[in-house]
C-alpha cells in the first residue's frame, strides 16, 4: 500500500474523476453544503450535510450516502431510507455518543436520509457516518473536512467506535468505486482492512478522537505495522497419525489433488472424521487472489481473521448436522450472511454424519456444488456468493452404523439392529443426485490392531502435500485448477484409454453398472491418479489406473431397503 496518505479538500477534483455515481453525488452534495457555508447557517432552507459510508450485502460493499438536514422547528430526529431495527436505533446511540464525547446535541429538526432510499439499510455500521453528518449539519464541523472521506463503524454510548463485519469488502468496494477516497474504519478492524494492501485507511478508536483528527487538532493515529501480529496457526492434524487405511489415504490424496468431492462411509470409530480433518493438511497454500476471496467472505461472515494476516491455508469448516439450509447456503431476510458453504470457499467443507442432515438441506447443496457459487435470492434482493469448497462427507451405512460389517472383521462389534424401514429411510436421503457428486467414495474400516501397535508412523502430510501440489501443477498445464474441472471434450484429449482399459469400462457400460456420466468421472479420477504417480501430462490411461479409479467409485452404502437384492 502507498505510504502517502491521500488528502484532498478540493471537491471539484472528485467530480471529474469519480467513477461512482453515488460517490460523485456525495461529493457534489458535500460541495453544496459547503456552499451554503457558515454564513447562511440559519437560512430558511436549513443546512444540509452529506457523508459517504457503505453497507454490506452478501460479501459486496455498497456505497451509502448519509444526508442530514437540519432546520428550524420543533427539535426532532428522524431516519428515513428503509432503516432496519438496528439502524433505526442509531438515533439513540448517536445522541448519547455525541453528548458523552463532549459535543452539543443540536436543538433543531434533524432528518437523516440514507441514500439510495430503495435499498434496505441493515445494522449499525452507519452510526459513525450519521454522527459526523449531524455535526456537519449543525455547524460544529466544517463540511470540507468530511469531503473525500468515508466513515464506517458502530458507536457505543460512550463514543467508542466498534467493529463491524465485512470491513474488508466495504473498504475494497469503496476503493473500487473511487481509489482516492480516504476511509475511516474502527480501530479494531484496521489491521484486517489493511490486508487488502491498498487505499488510505484511518483508524478510529472513539468519536471524539475522529472529530479531533478531522478538525486538524490531532494527527491521525499511525496505522499499525503492516505485518500484523505473530501468526498463531492452530496446529493442523497430520496424516502421520493415520495407521493402515490404504484406500482411505489414497482417496484423500486423490480428492486433494483432483478437487474431487470425497465420501467416507464406515462404522463408528473407523476413523472417518480423523481422515476428513486431515484433508486440509495436504491441500496446497492459497494464492494471493484466492486468499483475498477467502478473506472477503470470512470478514463478511464476521469470522475472526487469524493473526490479522492474509490467510495462507485453505479454510476448514465443519457445520453440525442440525445446520439449517440458510446457515449452510447463506441468507437472512435483510443482510445476506454467507453460509458455511461460502465460508469453506477454496477450502474444505466437512459434512460429518451426512445421513443426519435434513433431506431438504442436502437437496439444496446440489446446485451450488455444481456451479461453484450460490445465488441467494430474497424478495428484496439477490446476491451471488462464491462457493467452491472441496466437500468431504462422512456417514454411517445405517443409523446404528454396523450394517454390512461381517462378524469378526471388527473385534466385539455389535450386529446391526436397525429395522429395514429405518435403514431405507436413512439411505434414501443420501441416494441419487447428491451421491453422484462424490467422485471418490471409500469404505473406511477400523484399523487392524497390528497396524495400530506395531507399524511405524504413516506417511506425513508434507510428503503427500508435495505430490498433491505437483499434480495440481500438471492440471494447470491443461488449463484447469484441478482435474475435476475437465470438461467432456477435454477428457478425450487428456484422458485417453488404452485398449485394455477401454475393454474394462466397456463391460461395465454394457451391463449398466457404469453410466456415461460415471465414465467421465472415472476418467477424471484416473487422470488424477496418473498425475499423482508422475505420469506424462498427456499419457494414456492404462487398465490398472482405470481399475483403481473404478474401485474408488464403488457404491459404499446399501443400495436397497432389503439387503437381499443385489
Amino acid at each position: 500500500m502507498s505510504d502517502e496518505p491521500f488528502v484532498s479538500e478540493v471537491f471539484g477534483a472528485f467530480d471529474e474523476s469519480s467513477v461512482s455515481k453515488i460517490g460523485a453525488e456525495a461529493m457534489s452534495v458535500g460541495f453544496a453544503a459547503s456552499g451554503a457555508g457558515t454564513g447562511s447557517a440559519r437560512s430558511a432552507g436549513g443546512r444540509l450535510a452529506s457523508v459517504l459510508s457503505a453497507q454490506l450485502i452478501g460479501i459486496t460493499g455498497l456505497a451509502v450516502v448519509v444526508e442530514v438536514h437540519a432546520s428550524d422547528g420543533v427539535p426532532s430526529f428522524t431516519i428515513v431510507g428503509q432503516p432496519d431495527g438496528a439502524c433505526r436505533e442509531a438515533r439513540d446511540r448517536v445522541r448519547a455518543a455525541l453528548l458523552t464525547s463532549g459535543f452539543a446535541w443540536p436543538q433543531r429538526r434533524l432528518t437523516v436520509n440514507l441514500a439510495p432510499a430503495t435499498m434496505r439499510k441493515v445494522g449499525a455500521g452507519l452510526d459513525l457516518a450519521i454522527a459526523v453528518a449531524v455535526l456537519v449539519a449543525d455547524g460544529q464541523l466544517p463540511p470540507d473536512r468530511v469531503g473525500g472521506r468515508a466513515f464506517l463503524g458502530e458507536l457505543g454510548l460512550d463514543g467508542a467506535v466498534r467493529r463491524i463485519p465485512g470491513v474488508v469488502s466495504l473498504v475494497g468496494d469503496l476503493l473500487h468505486d473511487d481509489p482516492r477516497v480516504e476511509i475511516v474504519v474502527p480501530a479494531s478492524t484496521v489491521r484486517e482492512a489493511l490486508l487488502l494492501g491498498r487505499g488510505v485507511l484511518r483508524s478510529a478508536a472513539s468519536l471524539g478522537g475522529v472529530i479531533g483528527c478531522l478538525q486538524g487538532l490531532d494527527p491521525w493515529p499511525e496505522p499499525p505495522d503492516e505485518t500484523g501480529g505473530a501468526l498463531t496457526t492452530a496446529p493442523v492434524a497430520d496424516l502421520t497419525d493415520v495407521r493402515g487405511q490404504v484406500l482411505g489415504r489414497l482417496g484423500l490424496e486423490v480428492a486433494a489433488a483432483g478437487g474431487h468431492h470425497l465420501l467416507l462411509a464406515g462404522p463408528p470409530g473407523s476413523g472417518k472424521s480423523m481422515l476428513a480433518s486431515r484433508l486440509v493438511s495436504v491441500l496446497p497454500d492459497l494464492s494471493h487472489a484466492e486468499a483475498v476471496e477467502v478473506l472477503r467472505v470470512h470478514s463478511a461472515a464476521g469470522l475472526i481473521v487469524e493473526g490479522n494476516r492474509l490467510p495462507s491455508r485453505p479454510p476448514f469448516r465443519a457445520p453440525h448436522h442440525t445446520a439449517s439450509a440458510v446457515a449452510l447456503l447463506g441468507g437472512g431476510s435483510t443482510a445476506i450472511r454467507p453460509g458455511e458453504i461460502s465460508c469453506a470457499h477454496r477450502g474444505v467443507l466437512f459434512l460429518d454424519e451426512l445421513g443426519e442432515f435434513s433431506p431438504f438441506v442436502l437437496d439444496a447443496l446440489r446446485q451450488p456444488l455444481e456451479d461453484g457459487s450460490i445465488c441467494v435470492s430474497r424478495a428484496a434482493l439477490s446476491v451471488t456468493l462464491p462457493a467452491l469448497p472441496l466437500v468431504v462427507a462422512a456417514t454411517n451405512p445405517c443409523p446404528c452404523g454396523w450394517w454390512g460389517v461381517p462378524t469378526g472383521e471388527v473385534a466385539g462389534s455389535p450386529s446391526c439392529r436397525c429395522s429395514d424401514a429405518s435403514r431405507a429411510r436413512y439411505v434414501r436421503r443420501l441416494a441419487g443426485p447428491l451421491l453422484d457428486r462424490f467422485d471418490v467414495r471409500v469404505l473406511v474400516t477400523p484399523p487392524d490392531p497390528d497396524d495400530l501397535l506395531s507399524s511405524g508412523p504413516g506417511e506425513a502430510s508434507a510428503v503427500v502435500a508435495a505430490r498433491v501440489a505437483a499434480a495440481r501443477g500438471v492440471a494447470r498445464h491443461r488449463g484447469v485448477a484441478s482435474n475435476s474441472g475437465l470438461r467432456g471434450d477435454e477428457l478425450r484429449r487428456w484422458a485417453a484409454l488404452t485398449v485394455s482399459a477401454r475393454r474394462l469400462v466397456e463391460t461395465r457400460l454394457r451391463t449398466g453398472s457404469l453410466t456415461a456420466r460415471g465414465l467421465d468421472r472415472v476418467r477424471r479420477v484416473a487422470r488424477t491418479l496418473a498425475d499423482l504417480r508422475g505420469d506424462d501430462v498427456e499419457s494414456v490411461l492404462d487398465s490398472d489406473t482405470i481399475a483403481l479409479a473404478l474401485e474408488l467409485r464403488r457404491p459404499v452404502l446399501p443400495d436397497t431397503a432389503n439387503g437381499a437384492a443385489a
Binding site: 490404504v246 462378524t407 429395514d420 439387503g563 443385489a566
Partner: protein, 384 residues
Amino acid sequence: MSTASSLGAPTTGDRKRLEALVEAFVSSPGLGPSRLRAVQRHSELDLGETLERLSVGDWSAFSVRRPRGEGWDQLASRFRQECTRRVTASGCRWWLAGDPGWSEVFGSDDEPPAALAYCGSLEALDQPRVAIVGTRSASSAGLAFARELGASLSAAGVAVVSGLARGIDGAAHRGTIAAGGVGRAIGVLGTGLGVVYPREHRDLQGSVAANGLLLSEYEPSRGPRPEAFPLRNRIVAQVAHVVVVVESGETGGSLLTVHEAVMRGRPILAVPNNPLVRSSAGSNALLRCVHGAPPVALPCHGTADVLAVLDVGAILRAPDDDPRVEPGEAPRKVLDALGWDERTTSWLAATLSLPLPEVAAALAALEDDGWIAHRCGRWQRRPR
C-alpha cells in the same frame, strides 16, 4: 380324512359359485380356514351343499362349534353379507380338497387345509419340490448361498418352495426366477394373495405368480397377522419333499418349519456355518448329535447334496461344471486371499502386500468373470 366334496363334473358356473362361497366363508369374521376344516370334517353333505345351506342361515344341522359369546344368527348374517359381497366380485381361484392333484400333495397330511387360494399354475406341483427356508435377517453369505441354491435347483428341474419372507426365503426365490430353469417357484403366503408382506417383495411376489405358483389359506385381502405364519410353515413343510435350512437363528421361525417337516417325515438338510455367526446357531444345532441321538438334519454343501436326498431319478441332473473362466495368476492369488469371507480392498492389498492398482485390476477382472461380487465396499466370492 374325509373328502367331502367330489366335484363330479361341475359346470363352470357351479364351480365359480363354490369358490366364491369358500372365499366368503374364509373371510367372514369369526369363521376362517380352521372352521372351514371343521365344517368339512363334520358335514355329511359335500362342501358345496353345506356352504349353500349355511349361507341361508341353516346352521342347526352342523356341528360347527359356536364361537364364544356370539349367536348363530349373527354369524350366519355375517357369512350371508360376505356371500353377497364376494359371489360376484372375486378374481382369485380356489383349490379345494378333493380337486385333481390335491391328494398327491395333502393326502398324507393329518391337518390338511380345506381349501387354498392360488395364483399361477398348479402344474408347478408336478415337479419334485424342495423348500428353502431360513432367517429373515441373514448374513450376506447366507443370502448368496440361498440365491445360488435356488438357481441351481431350478436349473436341475426342481421346484423351490418358500414362504416369501425377507432374507433367505426371498433370496431363494430370486435365484430360482433369475435362473430361468425348468424348476418353478412355489410361494406359500401367510397373508392373502392380494396383500404383499413384506412390501419390498411386491415385484418378487408378482414374478413368483408368473413363474410358478402362489398359495394361501386366506382370503385375498387378509393382512399379515403373527399367528398366520407358523400355520403357513406347516403348508410349506407339507408341500415340499425335502426341506433345506440355509441359515436359522436359535429361535427362528424356520425351526417351526423343521418341526412340521419332522412330523411329516420329510428329510431335512441344513447348511453348516461358522459357529460364531449368531444367525446360524439354529441351523448348526440341527447338525449336532444330542445325547447320542442322530442329528435332525444332514449337512448341505450344495445342490448335489439336495439332489442325492431327493433321489427322484433321471429327470434331475447336476448342473454342468463351473462355466467360469479360470482366473489368471494375480486374480487367483486375490481370490485365494479372499476365501469365503467379506473383505475390503484395503485388507486385500495389505494382506497380499500388493500395490493398490494391481489389486484393483485383479478385482475388476474377477468381477467381470463372475467370480466375486461387490457389496457396499466389500468383496465376496460367489458360489458357482
